[in-house]
Amino acid sequence: MNAATETTLRVMPREMRMMSERILSLTGLPKGFVLAETDIIMLSQGLGLGGFALIEDRFDALKLADPAAITIASEDGPVLRLDAAGQHAWVAIPSLLDLAGELVARFGTAEITVANVVDESELQVAAEYGRRRGLRIALDANDGHLLLATPLRLAGDLATDEPVLWSLLTDGTPIAADLWWRIYERAQKALTPDSVVSRRHAGPLIVNDDGTVIGRRDNDDETDISFLAAPDGGRETERQTS
C-alpha cells in the first residue's frame, strides 16, 4: 500500500449523496429512481459494506441495471418471493422495502425472500434504510436472502430512529483518499464539459464570437472577458495562478 492509499478522508453525507447521484446518472437507471438510491449507497458505506468501492467495481453492471425487471415470483399472505432478475441488491432494495411496508401494513409482518440478486450481502442496507419507513427488518442468519419485517415505532428523533445516518451526519465516514478522488473524477463525467457556447448559458454577460458583449456592465465584478471567451485559456490561467 502506498502513501496515498494510507490516507483517509472524512466524507460527509452531502458529498456522498452528490457523488452517487452523479455516478448513477451515468447508468441506465431513470432519474426518478437514482434519487432513491443515493442513501442506499451512503448507508452501505456507513455500515462498512461495499459502499463506494463497490460502486466502482459494479459500475459497468449498473449501466445495464433495470429495476423494472424485478418481479414477484410468488405471494401468499405476508410471505413473498421476489425475483430480482439478476439485478444488484441496491437496485432491488427500493421495491423490497415497498413490499415489506405494504405487507406489514396488511398483515403486521412480512417475510420476503429475494432470489437471483447480485451482492446479496448488500441487502443488509435494507435493515437500516427500512427504519426510516417505520420497519424493523432482520436478515435470517441462515439465509441471507430472507428478510423478516415488523413495525418499528419511530421516536421522531433522528439519532434514535436512524443511528447510522445520524452518525454520518455528525462525524462523516472515513474513506480512502485515493478511492474518494477516483469516485470524484468519475462523478465529474456527469457534468458537462466547458465550452464557449456553454459559458453563455450562465452569468450576467454573454460574450459573442466577435468579442462583443450582450448585457449591462454595471455588475461590479470586473469580469475578465477573455476568460469567458476562452475556457481553455482560463484553465491555463488557473494553472499559472495555482
Partner: protein, 566 residues
C-alpha cells in the same frame, strides 16, 4: 384564514406560488438575514478582531471571534492582492480577493494553518472537523479603490459614488453543510446558535461585510499616517454584495419543505398583522407610517438599474400612495370614505391590484413589524428536512386524486410545443456552475432540472392505466422512474406551500423570478439588480448594525437605510 374581498391571508397556493408573485416578495423581519441580525442584537453577540496581519499589498491573514451567549465561533480569512486575470463574479472565476472559513470554537494555530493549506484547493480541499462554512469574496474594484484612496487622503468617500453599488466586496461563494467536509447542518440541532436554515452561511456573509470595511480602513492606514476611518453612518450604510443565479432554482426544487415552511411563516405573520384592530391614534399606525415613508425614501435614493422588474421610482410612488391612505386613516379613521377598525386589512385589499406587486409586498413586509414577537417566533420555526419517505400502502386512486387536486396547474400545462421543452438545466464540469441552455446547443448535457410538469403528467398517465385500488408498491415496481416524485408528492401533502407553479424548461419561464424569491424574500437582500433574466446582484446587510452596535444591543428597525448626509 381571514378574507378581505378578493385578497385572503394567508394567501392560497394558487396565488402565492406563481413565480411572478414570488418574485415580488420583499425583505422582511422573517427574512433570514434580518432575523439573524435581530437575534444578534437581542443576545448582544460580541464580534471582535483577533488578528489583522495584512500588508500594504493586501496579502495576509485575519481572524475574527464571534461570541454568542452559549458558544464561540471564529472566522479565519486570507486576503489576497486583487488580480484581474480570470476574474468574474461567476463561480467559474479563479481570482478571489479573500477566502475564509467560519469555524466552531476559537481559532487555533492548527485551524489557521489547515485553512491556509486547504482553502486554495477548493474542490480538492478538506475542511477541518469544526468548519461550518468556506467562503470566497471579491472586491468591487472601482468602489473599493475609490474608498481606499479617499480614506488614505483623509476624506470620507462621496456617497454619490458609494450608492452606485452600496458595498465594497461581494460574496462569490458560501459552501457548507458537508461540502468539502464541513459540518452537516442537520447535526447542529435547533439549540445551536447557527442551527437554523442558512444561518451559518449568512453569518459568514455578515463577517465578509465587516472584513471589507476593516480591510479598506487598514489599507488606508498603511498608505498614510493621516488616513481616516469610515464615518460610522457610512459604514452602517454599506452592506456586502451578493451575486446569485441559476443554482437557486435547483435549491428551490430540492428544498420544497424549507421554502414552504418559510413562506408559511411569512404569510402567517402578515395575516396576524393585518387582523390587528387599530384606532386612528394607535401608536402602531404612526410606526407603520414612518416605516412606509422610510421605505419610499430608500427606493427614491436607489440608483440601481432594473431590466425586468418595476423601477424603484415607481415602487416609491406606490408606497407613498399607500402611506397617504394610511395617513388619511390616522386623521379620520376612514379608508375610502368608510370607517374601519382593521385598516391594514382594508388597505391590503384596496391596493391588491392597483399598485406594483413590489409595493404591495413592501407594505405586507412592513406590517410584520407590528407583530414582532409573533414574527420572531414564526421565523424560528422555519425548517425543512430534505429526505422524503415513500408510503407504499397508498392506493393509486388516492394519489391520482390528490395529484389532480393539488397539481392541476402542472397537469394542465401544454407540453406539446417545442417551446415548452426548449431548455435544459445542467452543471458545467468546470466549477460545477449551474447553467440553462437551448437543448440543441448542449446535446451532451445531462438534464438536472426537475421537470415537474412533465414528470407529473407521465405519473398520472401511468396511474390511470392500473386499477384504482392497486397499492403504489406494485406500480412502482413497473415504473421505477416515478419513485422520487411519488415520495416528494406524498411528503409535501400537508404543506400549504412548496412548489412554484412553473415549467422551468419552457421559454416562457423567467429564472430570475425564483432567484429573487430566494434573494429578496428569503435571504433579505436589497437592491436586487437583474441581468439577462437569470442573474441578480444585490446588497446583503444594507444598513445592518455594526459589531459595536450589536454588542450594545437594541431593537430598532435598521433596514432601508437612508443615505448618510454629507
Amino acid at each position: 384564514m381571514q378574507t378581505v374581498g378578493a385578497a385572503a391571508y394567508p394567501r392560497p397556493q394558487s396565488d402565492l406560488m406563481r413565480p411572478q408573485r414570488l418574485a415580488a416578495l420583499q425583505p422582511s423581519r422573517v427574512s433570514i438575514t434580518r432575523a439573524l441580525v435581530n437575534r444578534m442584537l437581542r443576545q448582544r453577540w460580541d464580534i471582535s478582531i483577533q488578528r489583522f496581519d495584512v500588508d500594504a499589498s493586501a496579502s495576509g491573514t485575519v481572524v475574527y471571534s464571534i461570541k454568542t451567549p452559549g458558544q464561540e465561533f471564529s472566522f479565519i480569512g486570507f486576503s489576497h492582492p486583487p488580480s484581474r486575470k480570470a476574474r468574474t463574479g461567476r463561480i467559474i472565476g479563479r481570482a478571489w480577493d479573500m477566502m475564509g472559513t467560519l469555524n466552531e470554537g476559537p481559532a487555533t494555530d492548527a485551524d489557521i494553518e489547515a485553512a491556509r493549506r486547504e482553502l486554495p484547493k477548493l474542490y480538492r480541499g478538506r475542511a477541518t472537523k469544526n468548519a461550518l462554512v468556506w467562503c470566497r469574496a471579491n472586491r468591487s474594484m472601482r468602489v473599493f479603490d475609490y474608498t481606499l484612496s479617499q480614506l488614505a487622503a483623509g476624506r470620507q468617500p462621496d456617497m454619490q459614488e458609494l450608492s452606485q453599488v452600496c458595498y465594497l466586496m461581494r460574496n462569490t461563494g458560501l459552501d457548507g453543510n458537508g461540502t468539502f467536509g464541513t459540518k452537516s447542518f442537520p447535526s447542529l440541532g435547533r439549540d445551536h446558535p447557527l442551527g437554523g436554515p442558512l444561518q451559518a452561511q449568512l453569518l459568514t456573509a455578515y463577517l465578509m461585510r465587516e472584513y471589507s470595511c476593516d480591510l479598506v480602513e487598514h489599507l488606508a492606514r498603511l498608505q498614510s499616517d493621516t488616513a481616516v476611518s469610515l464615518d460610522p453612518a457610512i459604514r452602517r450604510f454599506l452592506g456586502v454584495g451578493n451575486g446569485s443565479a441559476l443554482g437557486l432554482i435547483f435549491f428551490v426544487h430540492k428544498h420544497p419543505r424549507l421554502i414552504g415552511s418559510w413562506l408559511a411563516a411569512r404569510e402567517k405573520a402578515i395575516a396576524s398583522a393585518l387582523a390587528l384592530e387599530l384606532a386612528p391614534a394607535d401608536p402602531r399606525v404612526g410606526e407603520l407610517l414612518a416605516l412606509l415613508r422610510r421605505a419610499a425614501t430608500f427606493r427614491r435614493q436607489d440608483k440601481m438599474m432594473y431590466e425586468s422588474f418595476a423601477s424603484s421610482a415607481q415602487i416609491a410612488d406606490d408606497v407613498d400612495t399607500i402611506a397617504a391612505a394610511l395617513e388619511r386613516f390616522a386623521a379620520d379613521g376612514m379608508v375610502d370614505e368608510a370607517a374601519t377598525t382593521r385598516p391594514l386589512q382594508t388597505l391590503a385589499h384596496k391596493f391588491d391590484m392597483s399598485v406594483t406587486p413590489e409595493a404591495l409586498e413592501t407594505f405586507l413586509s412592513l406590517v410584520i413589524e407590528l407583530v414582532p414577537l409573533e414574527a420572531d417566533a414564526l421565523a424560528a420555526t422555519v425548517e425543512g428536512a430534505d429526505e422524503f419517505t415513500l408510503d407504499p400502502t397508498e392506493s393509486v386512486g388516492s394519489l391520482a386524486s390528490h395529484l389532480r387536486e393539488a397539481y392541476g396547474w402542472a397537469l394542465e400545462e401544454d407540453l406539446s410545443s417545442p417551446a415548452s421543452r426548449r431548455f435544459v438545466w445542467y452543471k458545467s464540469e468546470t466549477a460545477e456552475e449551474p447553467r440553462r441552455g437551448l437543448r440543441e446547443e448542449v446535446p451532451e448535457a445531462i438534464d438536472l432540472g426537475l421537470d415537474i410538469c412533465g414528470d407529473l403528467q407521465r405519473l398520472v398517465a401511468d396511474l390511470d392505466a392500473v386499477a384504482a385500488d392497486t397499492p403504489l408498491s406494485r406500480v412502482l415496481m413497473r415504473h421505477p422512474e416515478h419513485r422520487y416524485l411519488t415520495a416528494r408528492v406524498q411528503g409535501l401533502r400537508n404543506a400549504s406551500f412548496h412548489t412554484p407553479m412553473g415549467n422551468i424548461n419552457s421559454e416562457e419561464f423567467t429564472p430570475i423570478d425564483l432567484v429573487r424569491l430566494m434573494n429578496a424574500g428569503l435571504h433579505g437582500i436589497d437592491k436586487t439588480r437583474d441581468f439577462l433574466r437569470r442573474n441578480l446582484r444585490g446588497v446583503l446587510y444594507h444598513g445592518a448594525p455594526t459589531p459595536d452596535e450589536i454588542r450594545a444591543g437594541g431593537s430598532a428597525f435598521w433596514a432601508y437605510p437612508e443615505e448618510p448626509v454629507q
